[in-house]
């Protein structure tokens, strides 16, 4: 059983409120759900949509077609009707315009809400009542949700909302129970978005200082941290620009506080000199890069995977770094914590790449640990008087002390000697550059290898990274039941890479690189490290995320 409900309307019409409500009520009943959002870069008007997919098994991708469309205005009814499944049904908020009543139910949601004693903003509750009835759910669970969420607003508000829900359910008439949906399940009842998972992981891992300049789709992480600041004892600062944001965290990490910054492609471009600074100063900064389509301002609210090569190569000069890209909210949590640990263990900048699709996706998550478990900062507590911040060692890692301790800690963006002071002595330069680059050996020891999914003897492998995980995984799940001999290789760590080991995994299989860009950036990166020679590219750069449907269609 698998059902997609698409709520569409203008910005400001409550699309997100309605979608969030559905997700929460379905998840409360242990039903697997996954929501995705598309929206325009505007505060009012336009066309926004919010898909809620529910299933009796775990799901990882949105669908192309919806089984039910909730069109909050005529424009979205026209826009999305053709994306309904054959048996699908539309609920149109407005007066009946004589459409085929077996396909379109017209209910003026706002009018109904006010008629039953509620207010216009309760239109989404009328819609929810109608939806629950159409998918054959008892609206008792919706009523319970209303009671627990609106209790603090008083009995009158609770009763008005319940009246709205009941009226919505009643008005669908003979369409009640028309669509099949899972009723109960054993999925985790908690819901988490990609950005929430990053924020929670950062706060619990000991990030004490977070900076950023607001930029979609990264802002949600900074907002999450700002709201968690008092609980976890951290400081969040909206910087005057991204250059300040990254230099601030360089300062804070020097002083011993784990720190991160959040941005998207354009802001990341401004931060690039700071990435290089962290490489030279060997500072454990953590950068969250939420991608959206470029070049330049591009499509500010859409999704893309176009900044992989940019992130892997960002910064002038040569220095070690690690780059990660989670595929699910759970991986967002795990890799954020891991990334902060790696940054400190290897005294190097770490970049975590997400995108609008993953930032906004909401999915059942088993309870993510919200206890404070600060990562090891690998700090020398009482350095000797003759302490050298950049002492040359075999591993390349020099003992890290903090300013304000028993020794001076000297850092310079110029080439420096072991004491941190400026030099342009040529042999010293070579010695120090070699020392820094030796840290790559340690980074490779901690490498997260790509995940193989599907039959091991598959002749064709979908090679992908980051947020394309879910759609590819579902495509494999479907295709293994067809004639295709197919598997997935998913990269959650994008740098450094072990080219020889990847080449062994891929062998002589046919490779299709699946990524949300036009030029096959992962494919090119794997070629650069000698992991593969030829690949076919399934790219996508229309600003929308992959769905399993699209991948299956394009493979067949």
């Amino acid at each position: 059983m698998d059902l997609t409900i698409r709520i569409a309307g203008a910005a400001g019409q409550g699309v997100e409120t309605t979608g969030d409500l559905l997700v929460e009520v379905f998840a409360d009943q242990g039903i697997h759900c996954l929501s995705t959002q598309t929206y325009m870069s505007r505060i009012r008007g336009g066309v926004n949509s919010y898909d809620v997919r529910i299933s009796d098994r775990e799901i990882f991708s949105g669908r192309e077609r919806a089984d039910m469309l909730i069109a909050l205005n005529e424009k979205t009814l026209n826009w999305f009707s053709e994306k309904l499944t054959e048996d699908g049904i539309a609920l149109y908020s407005g007066a009946d315009k004589g459409a085929d009543q077996s396909k379109v139910i017209a209910i003026d949601l706002e009018k109904v809400a006010t008629e039953v004693g509620g207010s216009a903003i309760m239109a989404n509750i009328v819609a929810a009542g109608a939806i629950f009835s159409i998918v054959g759910h008892d609206i008792g669970s919706l009523e319970d949700h209303i009671r627990s969420h609106f209790q603090h607003k008083g009995k009158g508000i609770v009763n008005a909302n319940i009246a709205c829900a009941r009226k919505g359910a009643e008005l669908v008439g003979e369409h009640a129970g028309r669509l099949n949906a899972p009723i109960h399940g054993d999925a985790p009842t908690g819901i988490c978005s990609g950005n929430e998972a990053v924020g929670l992981a950062a706060a619990t891992a000991g990030i004490k200082f977070a900076t950023g300049y607001p930029m979609t789709p990264s802002t949600g992480v900074l907002t999450y941290l700002a709201n968690a600041a008092d609980k976890y004892g951290l400081v969040v600062e909206q910087a005057e620009d991204e250059i300040a944001a990254i230099n601030m965290i360089c300062g804070a990490t020097y002083a011993g506080v784990p720190a991160m910054t959040t941005t998207s492609g354009g802001g990341f471009a401004l931060m690039v000199e700071g990435i290089s600074l962290a490489g030279m100063l060997e500072l454990p900064i953590f950068v969250f890069l939420g991608q959206r389509p470029g070049p330049a301002t591009g499509l500010p609210t859409r999704t893309a995977q176009q900044d992989l090569l940019f992130a892997v190569h960002a910064g002038h000069g040569e220095f070690p770094r690690a780059v990660f890209a989670p595929g699910t909210p759970q991986q967002c949590y795990d890799l954020t914590r891991h990334g902060i640990e790696i940054a400190h263990k290897h005294q190097s900048p770490v970049i975590l790449i997400s995108d609008q699709f993953l930032a906004d996706v909401r999915k059942n998550c088993p309870g993510l640990d919200d206890t404070y478990r600060p990562v090891d900062r690998h700090i020398v507590e009482n350095p000797p008087e003759d302490y050298l911040r950049y002492a040359v060692t075999e591993s390349g890692l020099s003992p890290r002390a903090l300013p304000g301790s028993s020794a001076f800690v000297v850092l310079d963006s110029d080439e420096h000697d072991e004491d941190g002071h400026i030099t342009d002595h040529i042999p010293t330069r070579v010695k120090m550059q070699d020392k820094r680059m030796r840290k790559y050996a340690g980074l490779l020891e901690d490498l997260i290898r790509p995940q193989w999914y599907g039959p091991e003897d598959a002749g064709h492998v979908l090679v992908t990274w980051g947020s394309a995980y879910g759609p590819c995984r579902e495509a494999v799940d479907y295709l293994v039941h067809t004639d295709e001999s197919i598997a997935m290789l998913h990269f959650a760590q994008l740098w450094p890479l072990d080219g020889a080991a990847i080449a062994d995994m891929i062998g002589d299989r046919h490779v299709t690189v699946v990524e949300c860009n036009q030029t096959g950036q992962l494919g090119r990166l794997l070629r650069q490290v000698g992991a593969l020679a030829d690949f076919a590219l399934m790219g996508k750069y229309d600003g929308l995320p992959f769905t399993a449907d699209e991948i299956i269609r394009r493979i067949q």
Partner: protein
């Protein structure tokens, strides 16, 4: 406490007679006079001749990127507000490349002291105009003379209600030390000390003699809390250049306004909440 002359035995990159030399010597005396514990002192700089100063004394050092001394210093102060964070950098670094950060950190009132060596010319890159060069100043790059008006750091700071604004002159070490000590002892947030500094190699106009003929200490009865008078002083540049504590404004420091920083520095409360 260390002596007032902690000079490193190091190869100083400045020209003989450079205005940075008296600033360095005076700085070391001021640190001693103000009773600053050098182990708690962090010198932050960007790039330029002035930005090399931290390498020629004893302190913790963050010599970062060009123009970015202020955001780095802000991050350091927020992470550990027990540290004395002092920026020593030049006019190109602080008023040109880093101008935006100057404006916004004055707004924040972060507890950082900025000593800006202002020689009205670029030394490191060998003689181009700086944001404070006077109009008409000719260089190898500004061949027809500087066409833009100079940046007025003091006026900007006063308009933005900077908590401490002062000016001094590298050629008057007694005055300079008094200003540095006053800035170091200022506990009310961001302090801007603009230090007029001759460049003996690339600025043949604004020489020691040129400054000496113009630099005039402010009247002792000047009330630094009088914003209008302060602005008049900041706008005075020509036959007379006022030096001294020009403006003060009392308001909470940036770091005093975050609940997590109330009891102890962020860095010392890492292990537990």
């Amino acid at each position: 406490m260390m002596k007032d002359k902690p000079f490193f035995d190091t190869d100083i990159a400045w020209c003989p007679g450079c205005g940075n030399l008296p600033i360095l010597k005076t700085f070391d005396k001021a640190i001693y006079a103000a009773g600053v514990d050098r182990k708690k002192l962090v010198l932050v700089s960007g790039i330029g001749q002035a930005a090399k100063l931290p390498h020629y004394t004893q302190a913790n050092v963050f010599n970062g990127l060009h123009g970015r001394a202020l955001p780095a210093a802000t991050g350091i102060k927020l992470a550990n507000h027990d540290l004395e964070v002092v920026i020593t950098s030049g006019d190109g670094d602080m008023y040109g490349e880093g101008g935006n950060h100057l404006i916004h950190n004055i707004r924040r009132n972060i507890g950082v002291k900025a000593f800006v060596h202002n020689n009205q010319v670029y030394g490191l890159t060998k003689g181009q105009a700086s944001p404070t060069s006077d109009p008409g100043f000719t260089t190898k790059l500004q061949v027809h003379g500087v066409a833009s008006l100079p940046f007025n750091p003091l006026a900007i700071a006063i308009v933005e209600q900077c908590s401490f604004v002062a000016r001094s002159f590298a050629g008057d070490r007694e005055h300079l030390q008094a200003m540095m000590v006053a800035a170091l002892e200022h506990k009310g947030g961001f302090a801007l000390l603009d230090i007029l500094q001759p460049c003996v190699t690339y600025n043949k106009v604004n020489t020691y003699q040129w400054y000496k003929a113009r630099v005039t200490p402010i009247d002792e009865d000047h009330n630094p809390y009088d914003r209008d008078k302060a602005l008049q002083l900041a706008l005075t540049w020509g036959e007379r250049i006022p030096v001294g504590i020009i403006y003060k404004h009392d308001r909470p420091t940036f770091e005093s306004q975050f609940p997590p920083l109330q009891n102890a520095p962020l860095v010392s409360r890492y292990g537990e909440l």
